[in-house]
């Protein structure tokens, strides 16, 4: 308290570790959200997170796990419905996400002695992250990293052309389902960092910036990770020094980076002519 300008690493290393770890994996995963147009799926996962939080409170489980559970349920339900119904994916997602959101709200209202920190849920509570939280996040991120590493080539292949991938022996439906499950993991993790309201931005914005500079899918993933990490560092510092809410600060940084990238590539484009 004596020196407000100093960074208390004792207090901040856990938030930094959790935030940077999340941003590293949000980079490559966010690329697929952009390529496969899964932004609305991300939003639906975010909506379903409220039900996950309610279930966590009900059963006294860590919310990251129950949010992951509802996310996986949403993903699998969507895959089933896509195969069986004539509705388009966005209609199905609209139905599912709001049903789950409504179920979450009803369940929260039914809980006795309810004390939900709505701000933490909506905007993340990275500064309040505990060592136990970080362990769980690290575990989830490790699973995500292994899946991404092993499925990278098939994921790129189905992004390029599904039938071409299929003709070359890739199980398209399986890979796509795996991607949806990976997103459920990412959302459960990102909830802690930027909250449900802003979580898709951490996936989409860095990837959208990286796209302007990358020459290959791998480059795009690495650049997106780097931008995410910079935004997490910037957001945490801003939050620490200016006492701003941490999740919105991080997202604000990504947004500012995006605007800068527009100007920068605009200049580069002008230079080419």
């Amino acid at each position: 308290m004596t020196d407000a300008l100093a960074i208390d690493w004792q207090l901040l290393w856990l938030p930094f570790a959790a935030g940077i770890g999340t941003a590293l994996l949000a980079g490559p995963l966010g690329c697929f959200v952009v390529w496969q147009r899964m932004a609305y799926f991300g939003e639906s996962l975010a909506h379903s997170a409220l039900l996950g939080v309610a279930l966590g409170l009900w059963f006294h489980l860590p919310p990251a796990l129950t949010v992951l559970g509802t996310g996986i349920a949403l993903a699998l339900l969507l895959v089933q419905l896509q195969q069986r119904s004539r509705f388009s994916s966005d209609t199905l997602l609209g139905i599912l996400s709001h049903t789950l959101l409504a179920a979450g709200l009803v369940l929260l209202a039914a809980l006795p002695n309810l004390r939900v920190d709505l701000d933490a849920l909506l905007f993340g509570d990275l500064l309040a992250v505990s060592a136990r939280d970080v362990t769980l996040l690290a575990l989830l991120l490790a699973v995500l990293a292994v899946c991404l590493w092993r499925l990278w080539q098939p994921l790129i292949a189905i992004t390029v052309h599904e039938e071409l991938a299929s003709a070359e022996g890739i199980h398209v439906a399986r890979v796509r389902t795996a991607l949806m499950l990976m997103m459920a993991i990412a959302v459960a993790v990102a909830m802690k960092v930027v909250g449900v309201l802003l979580m898709t931005s951490l996936l989409i914005i860095p990837a959208a910036i990286a796209q302007r500079f990358a020459r290959s899918p791998e480059q795009m993933a690495v650049i997106a990770s780097a931008i995410g990490v910079l935004a997490v560092i910037g957001g945490l510092l801003l939050s620490w020094f200016a006492n701003s809410p941490v999740g919105p600060s991080i997202v604000l940084f990504t947004g500012v980076f995006f605007l800068n990238s527009l100007a920068f590539s605009g200049l580069r484009h002008a230079g080419q002519h």
Partner: protein, 291 residues
């Protein structure tokens, strides 16, 4: 006894020729059967897309499926490749058949950065193999080019190179000449025939343009939900002008060819039918010279 033998011989001669005899390009080598369909039916939403299709494809053979829009050509490919489950009938692919597939169109997401090299690396090929494949398809040195910036004709050749890098026993090409200018189309079909000779793979080709593929194909299957007719086309490579002229007449080709259905597989009738449009053809030919 003697009479019986003569009758038997006559009956034998009158019998419809088996597919293999009709289609095998080289009778000396016993070409392996790669793919066959029997009584293949596909229905969707109560509509029949494919009706009792029988089809055989051998090593070293080029089979072209032609038909008007909506005839079920792409559905047939998808059913043969296993992307679509048949409602009835069966598809048999030879054991561990390596297929090089060239889709009708590569609608690459504009946000996915991808060079030609990276695209071809997805087959697991190394730089040397990629260079060779590009050389073979006539687009040497395109490796570092962005896939978003190659021309329509180059893109088709990149797709063909990718199919080749699979070391295919069977090439499946869905309208390979789409988006390619007329002169390029003829080149592309010539290239496909060359590739067949060099790799001795089977080729299954979909086209809506009979005349361009005639020179490069062993068997033509006319499809309009069911197989209207099939057989060996006239060998028209001796008439390059004819080939060239008809290549400029996509719309009328389809008309001529639909008309041709009613005449069963009399391909000569097709020639006469085409010539009736001689004056129009000439104009078109003239127009192309201006280009």
């Amino acid at each position: 006894m003697g009479q019986c033998a003569i009758i038997a011989t006559l009956l034998h001669l009158c019998r419809p020729m088996p597919d293999h005899a009709l289609t095998s390009p080289d009778p000396d080598t016993a070409d392996r059967l790669l793919l066959s369909a029997r009584g293949l039916c596909v229905q969707a939403d109560g509509r029949t897309l494919l009706d009792r299709i029988d089809l055989d494809l051998h090593e070293g053979e080029i089979v072209t499926v032609i038909g008007p829009n909506g005839a079920g050509k792409t559905t047939l490919l998808k059913a043969l490749l296993g992307f679509v489950t048949p409602t009835a009938g069966s598809v048999t692919r030879s054991d561990r058949l390596r297929i090089g597939y060239m889709p009708q169109k590569l609608a690459l997401n504009p946000l996915l950065p991808m060079t030609v090299q990276r695209f071809l690396q997805q087959t697991g090929a190394d730089r040397t193999m990629i260079r060779q494949a590009l050389q073979e398809t006539g687009i040497t040195g395109l490796q570092q080019q962005s896939l978003h910036r190659v021309s329509g004709g180059e893109l088709q050749r990149v797709l063909l190179a990718r199919a080749l890098l699979r070391q295919p026993q069977l090439l499946v090409l869905d309208e390979p000449a789409q988006g390619v200018d007329v002169c390029g189309q003829a080149d592309l079909y010539r290239l496909i025939a060359t590739l067949r000779d060099r790799h001795h793979c089977g080729v299954l080709l979909v086209s809506h343009d009979l005349h361009l593929v005639m020179a490069a194909t062993d068997t033509v299957i006319c499809l309009n939900q069911h197989i209207c007719c099939q057989g060996r086309p006239e060998h028209v490579s001796q008439h390059p002008e004819y080939l060239q002229l008809f290549g400029r007449q996509l719309a009328e080709d389809i008309a001529v060819y639909t008309h041709h259905h009613d005449h069963d597989h009399d391909l000569h009738g097709n020639v006469t039918g085409g010539c009736q449009h001689g004056s129009t053809l000439h104009t078109h030919h003239h127009g192309c010279r201006h280009d």
